[in-house]
């Protein structure tokens, strides 16, 4: 099993969710985060006081899939999230040691 962690642009959340749903992936966790890679921030001014805001709002999507579905899921996600500009985000893939369904104690791929 693999965990996919994707940091994407907030306005790409709906297209990504829609695209994943269309290939039958419907379990995911969404968090609002702030961060940056190479994307420059912006300047805000409050009563003459300038602030450089370089932590930008993003969305983090976490989902766990079977090894067999990994490549298809990553491809679908990245295509839906892409605009081609700096700031699109990143995807990281991790190994998952165990998965458990809390309701009935299903283990491994059966829990996904």
């Amino acid at each position: 099993m693999k965990k996919i962690e994707a940091i994407i642009q907030p306005f790409k959340l709906e297209p990504v969710k829609e695209a994943l749903k269309n290939i039958g992936i419907d379990g995911m966790t969404i968090t609002e985060v702030r961060g940056h890679g190479r994307q420059k921030g912006h300047k805000e001014v409050y009563r003459g006081q300038e602030y450089n805001v370089d932590l930008l709002p993003k969305m983090k999507i976490e989902l766990v899939v079977t090894d067999a579905r990994l490549n298809e899921t990553v491809k679908t996600l990245t295509e839906a999230a892409r605009t081609g500009k700096i700031g699109d985000g990143k995807v990281f893939v991790y190994d998952v040691a165990e998965a458990i369904r809390i309701r009935n104690d299903d283990r491994g791929e059966a829990a996904l």
């Binding site: 805000e44 001014v45 409050y46 009563r47 003459g48 006081q49 602030y51």
Partner: protein
């Protein structure tokens, strides 16, 4: 309609005996007076409520939106608690110290515990409304004034220190200043025999200069917030601040137009001047920002409107509408520079710009009142022969500007000296600043054991 009534009345009168005509006239006279009183009292009670609204939630929202989230409740409390504390202080001694005739500097204690302050009017101040209405109206001014100072010590003031500070400040600075300008026999009272008649319709000197200058003293004495100015301290919710500013604008009609103490044409003039001043000032500030920063900001707009309201306060019942626009516009620009350039140049942490807006705006407004005050708007000042006196420079009386300066200087000196003494006393008794850890944790948790927002609930 009036002509018809007069005709009928005359016809009926001519048909009756002289005594019953007299009796009818007397009854009519009483009825007319009662109607005027009812109108005045209705407006004044409404105005009192409007001024209270300025503190809670107007100022509470305006200020708390500008601080960091961890201090939102503590900042609101700085406004809210005054509604409670000052009320009690006012009832005990405050009204007397301000409005009883005593010395030119402070009233005596004849109205202590509000003795004699009942429903009968006090003709020195407001002949057509119960004295209690006048008392409760003025109370709302006493409530909001110390609340303005909180802008300077936001995010680092100990609650116990703030409570003690407020009580002492009201006694030592506000009550004397209010007496001097508005109390009978007060040194600066233009209407009631002051030696240096200073025109201050609704409290530019009494409220804004005293609190704004005190704020500067507090900011300098307490020192900067930890991390200021390197660490970003953005307003956590300008949404709250916009709502607060709009409530302040709304409530200010009670503050200024209510200072006519009657539902009269003067109240109308003050209402219009107030509104025009606010609008022009918002534009003045926004205009400066647009030129200098390239973008007009919402914070600039609401800061501007407040600056305009402050500046028009002393002038509101004395100036015509277009001078009010001008005063507002200039106030927006003056305060813009005070807040953005002067503050950063001198480096003091007047966190919410209490000095930059109220101190500077009030000073500007007080002085410019001497220029534009005209008896065309306010003809209540008459000489011993009953002739209406000229008011400001536009009336051919440039000397009024000097009187305004005297009032301004007295306000400044009283605020500086009084506040320094009070700060020293509070520092010794309760302490003023929260300790370093409490400041980082935030006032909400450290002073009140609460969190303003708990989205997981």
């Amino acid at each position: 309609m009036k002509l018809w009534t007069l005709f009928v009345f005359s016809a009926a009168a001519m048909a009756q005996t002289p005594q019953s005509v007299d009796a009818k006239l007397a009854a009519l006279d009483t009825a007319v007076k009662a109607a005027q009183s009812a109108g005045d009292n209705a407006w004044m009670l409404t105005s009192a409520a409007l001024v209270l609204l300025m503190t809670g939630p107007g100022l509470a929202l305006f200020y708390s939106g500008l601080v960091r989230r961890k201090n939102v409740l503590g900042t609101m409390m700085h406004s809210f608690i005054l509604m409670a504390i000052i009320t009690v202080l006012w009832a005990l001694v405050g009204y007397s110290l301000v409005f009883a005739e005593g010395s030119p500097f402070i009233g005596d204690l004849r109205y202590v515990f509000l003795r004699g302050v009942g429903l009968a009017p006090n003709p020195d101040y407001a002949a057509t409304i119960p004295q209690q209405t006048y008392m409760v109206y003025q109370l709302m001014f006493a409530i909001i004034t110390p609340g303005l100072i909180a802008g300077a010590f936001a995010e680092r003031m100990k609650f116990s220190g703030m409570v003690l500070f407020t009580i002492l400040w009201a006694l030592i600075v506000y009550f004397p200043m209010a007496h001097m300008v508005w109390g009978k026999g007060g040194l600066l009272n233009a209407a009631l025999g002051g030696k240096f008649p200073c025109l201050d319709f609704a409290g530019g000197t009494v409220v804004h200069i005293t609190s704004g200058v005190s704020a500067l003293v507090c900011a300098l004495y307490l020192g900067k917030r930890q991390g200021y100015p390197q660490e970003p301290m953005k307003p956590h919710s300008l949404v709250l601040s916009v709502i607060g500013a709009c409530l302040l604008w709304f409530g200010w009609f009670g503050f200024n137009a209510g200072s006519a103490v009657a539902a009269s044409g003067l109240a109308t003039s003050a209402f219009v001047a107030t509104h025009f001043g606010a609008a022009a000032a918002a534009l003045g500030w926004i205009f400066m920002e647009w030129i200098r920063n390239g973008k007009p900001s919402v914070l600039g707009g609401i800061s501007g409107c407040v600056a305009g309201l402050v500046a028009i306060t002393p002038a509101s019942g004395f100036v015509e509408p277009f001078p009010a626009l001008l005063i507002g516009f200039l106030a927006g620009i003056v305060c813009y520079f005070m807040v953005t350039m002067v503050k950063s140049k001198f480096g003091y942490d007047d966190s919410l710009d209490a000095f930059g807006v109220h101190g500077a705006g009030g000073t500007f407004g007080a002085i410019i009142t001497g220029v534009f005050a005209t008896n065309a708007i306010n003809d209540s000042f008459k000489d011993s022969a009953g002739k209406t006196l000229p008011l400001g420079w536009v009336d051919g009386n440039p000397g009024q500007v000097i009187n305004q300066l005297i009032g301004t200087v007295i306000a400044w000196v009283l605020a500086i000296v009084g506040t320094l003494i009070i700060l020293k006393v509070c520092d010794a008794i309760t302490g003023l600043r929260v300790d370093k850890d409490a400041e980082i944790e935030g006032l909400d948790l450290s002073q009140h054991g609460e969190e303003g927002y708990f989205f997981e609930a």
